[in-house]
Amino acid sequence: MRAFSFWPKGFLQCFLKGDRLTRWLVTLPPSLFLVIFFLLPSLIMVAASFREPGEFGGLAPLAERGLTLEAYRFLAEDIIYLWILAKSFLVAGLTTLFCLLLAFPVALLIARSPKRQRDFLVLLVILPFASNFLIRIYAWIMILGPMNLLYSPVAVILGMVYVHLPFMVLPLYTNLEKHDPALLEAAQDLGAGAWTRFWRITFPLSLPGVFSGAALVFIPVLGMFAVPELLGGTGDILIGNLIKEQFLDNRDWPLGASLSLGLTAAVLGVAALSAVLTRRRTGKLGAGT
């Protein structure tokens, strides 16, 4: 068959043996889709922040109004935007802290359980997370309403913690599972108490897991608008609510775009910090995540 092939030899070679064409055929469709619908819109967001708002929402025609730093000047002049960004960081930080406090015992318990029970215990953490995000917020509206705690900063933090907890448990557990129990036994033989063993061995070794879990919680909380909107009062809005407001209610898209870029910068900063901390820790202690 092959001897009588219609195709030139090089073509067949390329298609059947050579990796090149296959590589393009497999890589191109997803790449193209994501370039058009993820990369391009992100770049347009940058451009939009330098435009002027249109009369009826959207952007003003480029030819007439040109490019401007108006949106950024507006942000810089009003201290309220900086304050809301700081508040978003504060809420994200507190949420991360409470998630860590709640997640650590669970992760430790799972890691120290017999192997056969571990998957089940992990599944138990993930299951509530599989119910719709709005339903999980709604559950707290039901509970906090009669307790007169609704529409307060406490409700916002509680909701944030509840919605993001599994993101902290999973990386922590993955890390803790890998610890060598011999280390703890050795420490015990040398007379270290339970408290010392935790703070001198388990906790320092778990730091890569803590950092990656912290990033997984901190980043989505930073951009969240639904939790403050449904559980918080008017004074509890965060940067996500500001962005939503500019795009859907006020229709000042350049301002919304510049706020989005601010959020992006904050997210990138947090992600980079987490990556650096994780790597440094991993290198120093020789315990992989």
Binding site: D19, I135, A139, G145, L170, L222, G223, A257
Partner: protein, 258 residues
């Protein structure tokens, strides 16, 4: 021993924190009272009322259609991306695939809104929602498929090649059957993400189109009613079933994800 006990108590408290609120929602979906305050008696009244709610059923139908179509397309593209990322050292594709998974959803939502309205001048609706859902699902499918590939023994492929199988034949006869559980798990994941998505849909849905989460959102904004409890309970049942299916097809799913 004492410390083990303390650990158990602390972990139990966290598990309770995770489950109690949802248990309250389920419980009150069967409560025979307009107010979600005290237990009055058992009823399935709220469920029958749901089934008579035209607007809600329409939204549920939309959600189902969007989830079916978007997860199918995302599975094909995500599988390609997962294979490509496993097979070759690429720079751009991993960035394109993983960033939408890691960044706050609102950023993807507003940038797509800007793109659809300002650049394409498109009327928001079914198409914009579909595109948005495919965009955020591809990454999850790719991660699951890549994890499945990473766990496999490379020598099988070498053996197939040595025995004279063409790359295409190796793919259809060896690779595909082996990663199929990963693909199915990825599909179920994409389906669940799509049917559950609120934030991104909220920005790209426009006025004409509603999905179940959008409908639930507007119901929650208006008032707390037992109907929301009933719809929540039904949705929880649905996602539970999907998770059960997914974990049956790929038990390594939740381990590889983290």
């Amino acid at each position: 021993m004492k410390r083990g006990f303390l650990l158990w108590c602390a972990a139990l408290a966290t598990y309770a924190f995770l489950y109690l609120p949802l248990a309250v929602v389920v419980l009150f979906s069967f409560n025979d009272s307009e107010l979600n305050a005290a237990w009055v008696g058992f009823t399935t009244h709220w469920y029958s009322r749901l089934l008579a709610d035209e607007v809600l059923l329409q939204a549920a139908g939309n959600s189902l259609l969007i989830a079916l179509v978007s997860s199918s397309i995302a599975t094909v593209l995500g599988t390609m991306a997962g294979i490509a990322m496993h097979r070759w050292r690429l720079r751009l594709l991993p960035f394109l695939v993983l960033t939408p998974v890691a960044m706050p959803e609102i950023l993807l939502g507003v940038s797509l809104l800007l793109f659809f309205r300002q650049v394409l001048d498109l009327t928001l609706g079914l198409f914009s929602i579909l595109v948005a859902h495919i965009t955020f699902s591809i990454g999850f499918v790719a991660i699951i498929v890549r994890a499945r590939l990473a766990g496999m023994d490379e020598s099988i492929f070498e053996a197939a090649r040595d025995l004279g199988a063409s790359p295409w034949r190796t793919f259809t006869r060896i690779t595909l059957p082996l990663i199929l559980p990963g693909i199915v798990a990825g599909y179920l994941m994409a389906f669940t993400l799509s049917i559950d998505d609120f934030v991104i849909t909220f920005f790209v849905a426009g006025v004409g189109m509603s999905t179940l989460p959008l409908q639930i959102y507007s119901m929650i904004k208006v008032a707390v009613t037992p109907e929301i409890n009933a719809i929540s309970t039904l949705l929880m049942g649905l996602t539970l079933t999907l998770i059960g299916l997914a974990s049956r097809f790929a038990p390594e799913l939740w381990r590889s994800k983290s």
